[in-house]
Amino acid sequence: MRKRGFFIGFLLVALVIAGAVSYLADSDPDGLDHATMVGCEVVEVDGAERLKGDCIAQRAREHQLSSSPLADYAVGGDERSTGMAGVLGVLLTLGLAGGLFWLLRKRSTT
């Protein structure tokens, strides 16, 4: 029983982080993005952010799946739904990873 309690607790922590704490995430570019943007500055063009200047990020291509329903951790592009997207992501990852590892595991012979 204690064993199951730990697993449920671990999952709940992950769900709370993805579903609620994710709203507190810093929206600044991460370390890698920051490095690719050295040499550029972000400017507003027609209400959208564009990069001005010469930097590695200018070479970055738009993601082929950028219009997928959960793109950029939002359901249907609604930024308020980050938590919902996060919860779906946690459950999807758990399903995929858990399923794969369950299939790969050694079966006990007892």
Partner: protein
């Protein structure tokens, strides 16, 4: 709100040859990891490994500030390796990266090989090797384990960023001075590594407090991990 670049390397930063080469490296690495993972996966550790992957997905959503205008987030290789071992750990991080790229449009698809190589293979290997080297300290008590988790996570982050620099040197847009790129990427990841270390230490410490039997790095410990008094730890 955000620019066109995603959290992980986007498509277009590396040329096609280099992208393909690292897709090959990733596939090869994951095939070896999957074969080796079997040895440590059983009815008890398989659910734990699935939860570690889900936890990494959740935690990677939390970008924390490291400098004005710059954030960082967990990569998770050391965390996964300490909890479920290096082979299963590499698979955990990879599954997260695949879900992020294919479902959340985060991280390019042709760049997926390079991203897996950096975060799942290099990061996990670096974190695990450091943790393995310090295993005696980790088995000495929970404070030791937490310290080892922190140090392993710092190395995991910094070496994963070195992986990006190597890939960029091999097949990046060469009109950008490599030295500047290297200094910026590695410098910022030294700071991100501290955040990675804190999250890893907290998580490993929490799991060890409740279920030390589920911490891969503590396997084979002669005596079960015991709680010590403050005086005992300080000594």
């Amino acid at each position: 709100m955000s620019t066109s670049v995603a959290m992980h390397m986007s498509d277009g930063l590396l040329n096609a040859t280099t992208s393909m080469l690292f897709i090959g490296v990733a596939v090869l690495g994951l095939a070896v990891a999957a074969a080796r993972a079997r040895a440590t996966l059983d009815d008890r550790t398989a659910p734990m490994a699935g939860l570690v992957a889900a936890f990494l997905f959740a935690t990677q959503m939390i970008n924390f500030p490291v400098l004005p205008g710059v954030s960082g987030h967990l990569l998770g290789g050391a965390l996964a390796a300490i909890l479920v071992g290096p082979w299963v750990g590499a698979l955990c991080v990879s599954i997260v990266l695949v879900v992020q790229a294919l479902v959340f449009a985060d991280g390019g698809i042709t760049a997926l090989g390079a991203n897996i190589t950096n975060m799942a293979l290099i990061g996990t290997a670096a974190g695990f090797l450091v943790a393995l080297a310090l295993r005696r300290l980790a088995q000495h008590g929970r404070a030791g384990l937490v310290a080892v988790a922190f140090i392993a996570a710092v190395f995991n982050t910094v070496l994963a960023s070195v992986g990006f620099v190597v890939e960029f040197a091999m097949g990046g847009e060469t009109s950008f001075p490599l030295g500047t790129v290297a200094a910026t990427v590695i410098g910022v990841h030294c700071l991100i590594g501290i955040g990675e270390g804190v999250i890893t230490a907290l998580t490993v410490g929490a799991v060890a407090a409740v279920r030390p039997d589920l911490v891969y790095l503590l396997r084979g410990t002669e005596r079960p991990l015991e709680l010590r008094t403050a005086a005992g730890v300080a000594a």
